[in-house]
């Protein structure tokens, strides 16, 4: 642990104190937001490898939150495995929460395509076969099962929709844009294999243009949570948000930014920094410890050129798997050069204090991005 003694980390925010905490373990990210009055929002989910439960729930329980009552909303920015693992457990344990999911997968026009993807026999059977193979599709299916069982119909996030409207806070979705709905579903359906051959994990289509970007308005603060939205010449993600922004929603610049898509070049857009953010904003980024590993050195340099206040939840690489167990198993793991995919439970926590400033605290492997040296 860095920065604070353990007791301080387990302290709840003040009743009306805004808090944003980003969890990231090298594979996966999740955010919890205290919007005041003891109410919390969870965005996405990852599994805390040490506690074997969603990192967000572990944290909220550690600081004494009654998750069954105080989590009022859960937003699933997209279905990819690194943003959705454990989301069905959150649905089970947070019955008071209203769920929102990206409308890119579920629109009235696309409902039949959606069913083909997630409900029809081949895909459903595939999801079942993939249930223990880290496929986000199967976890998404589990989420829908839990919500249906509970009679808790999800809401849908799309461009310029007000998702949450509370006393001191509004949460808007700035994406996905309706022009990409068709492509988003088709890109996934295209991966469903024939009924012969090997079982294939459904991978995340690239670029990610169907992710839900969130814009939070709280008193004098504006907060931009970039999810995994990407951009390339053919598929517009950030360009559409910026070129079609409404002054009634984006009425100021933000001082706080959860950097998009693990800090990658494809998640970057110059105009995010010039048109949506104040100079030198507080930035949080979660790494991606698979192929390709993100952020790259060039990404870190670019982000540091925009702000001196960027923090990363962890930045470990290829830590050898060394859990004591059966000697034969350990020998085989060593022979296979086995490394951890996920890093230890780590987070960056930002709380706004009475002076209007943000206080940043780090836990586990989290650190300031500028501290990473080669």
């Amino acid at each position: 642990m860095h920065g604070l003694p353990m007791a301080q980390h387990f302290k709840q925010p003040e009743f009306n104190q805004l808090e944003i905490t980003l969890f990231g373990s090298g594979y996966g990210e999740s955010i919890v937001i205290h919007i005041g009055n003891g109410k919390w929002i969870i965005v996405d989910s990852l599994i805390n490898r040490d506690a074997n439960q969603p990192a967000s729930l572990k944290y909220l329980e550690d600081i004494g939150i009654d998750i069954s009552l105080q989590v009022i909303s859960v937003i699933v920015t997209h279905w990819h495995d690194d943003h959705i693992r454990g989301i069905s457990e959150i649905a089970n344990k947070c019955p008071s929460a209203k769920f929102f999911i990206s409308s890119a997968l579920m629109t009235l026009q696309n409902i039949n395509k959606f069913k083909t993807l997630i409900l029809d026999s081949p895909a459903s059977r595939l999801a079942h076969l993939n249930a223990d193979s880290t496929s986000g599709v199967s976890e998404f299916r589990k989420l829908l099962d839990v919500l249906r069982e509970a009679g808790n119909c999800p809401g849908f996030a799309f461009k310029d929709r007000l998702l949450i409207d509370e006393e001191r806070i509004q949460v808007w979705s700035l994406s996905p844009h309706d022009t990409i709905f068709e492509k988003a579903v088709e890109a996934i359906i295209a991966q469903i294999p024939d009924k012969i051959g090997s079982v294939q994990r459904i991978k995340a289509p690239r670029p990610n243009y169907s992710s839900v970007v969130l814009w939070i308005k709280s008193d004098n603060d504006r907060i931009l949570l970039g999810a995994d939205l990407e951009e390339n010449p053919e598929y517009k993600g950030w360009s559409l948000i910026i070129s079609e922004k409404k002054a009634s929603i984006i009425d100021d610049k933000a001082r706080f930014f959860k950097i998009s898509h693990h800090g990658s070049e494809t998640g970057h857009h110059d105009k995010i920094w010039s048109e949506l953010l104040y100079r030198d904003p507080f930035c949080l980024v979660a790494p991606f410890n698979r192929n390709p590993k993100l952020p790259r050195e060039s990404d870190i340099a670019r982000i540091n050129s925009y702000t001196n206040n960027a923090y990363i939840t962890s930045y470990e690489r290829d830590v050898r798997y060394d859990i004591a167990m059966d000697r034969y198993v350990q020998r085989r793991l060593s022979a296979r050069k086995a490394t951890y995919v996920n890093e230890p439970y780590s987070y960056v926590r930002a709380r706004k204090i009475a002076t209007g400033n943000w206080v940043i605290e780090t836990y586990g492997k989290a650190r300031k991005l500028s501290s990473i040296t080669r």
């Binding site: 029809d120 009924k195 798997y321 034969y328 995919v341």
Partner: protein
């Protein structure tokens, strides 16, 4: 020659099986256990009738707290079967292929251990599965211990690629029903 003598002569294992051992399987006769018991006796331990022969008479060695081994009639024992115990199993998928090697992301099937990334050689995959090796192909990695008929222990390292199954009529009916249920729920309960 008594059964005990036969067992000792045929022993190749190095492990002691007892009734208190949760991994004990009664179909195996622990030859080495007998040897260890005798060694202990020679060291001064007391063993009494831990083995019986077919006539029911006991050996002259004294009883002690050492494990009691089940009586076995060798003629009834299977001669070709073996028994596997899975030590650990992961399920995962191929993340990338580089020449004759591939890298996979794997989840422990018990859900108790963290995910790992590991490297494999394609020639370790059985020939029948090799055509299934491709990016995102799902497979199981199984480490097991096989106990053979005479007690030998063999460690095994196995890669099994999953094949897409044939559809059964019941599966299709079950899924069709689910589709209808979901459709009704999404159509009438969803707020867009």
């Amino acid at each position: 020659m008594t059964e005990a003598n036969l067992a000792i002569k045929s022993d190749t294992t190095s492990e002691l099986y007892s009734d208190n051992d949760p991994q004990n399987d009664e179909s195996y006769f622990g030859g080495s256990a007998i040897r260890q018991l005798i060694n202990k006796t020679e060291d001064g331990g007391r063993i009494d009738s831990f083995l019986e022969d077919d006539s029911g008479s006991t050996s002259s060695i004294s009883r002690t707290n050492l494990p009691i081994l089940p009586r076995r009639n060798f003629s009834e024992m299977p001669q070709s079967s073996s028994h596997s115990i899975i030590k650990q199993k992961w399920t995962g998928y191929i993340d990338s292929i580089n020449g004759q090697e591939f890298t996979a992301i794997l989840s422990d099937s018990s859900g108790k251990e963290p995910d790992i990334k590991a490297s494999f050689c394609i020639d370790e995959v059985s020939e029948g599965d090799r055509h299934l090796v491709s990016e995102n192909a799902v497979f199981d990695w199984i480490l097991s211990k096989e106990r053979k008929i005479h007690g030998q222990i063999e460690n095994k390292d196995l890669l099994v690629f999953r094949r897409f199954p044939m559809w059964k009529k019941q599966d299709l009916e079950k899924e069709s029903k689910k589709v209808e249920e979901f459709n009704a729920w999404l159509t009438h309960g969803t707020t867009f």
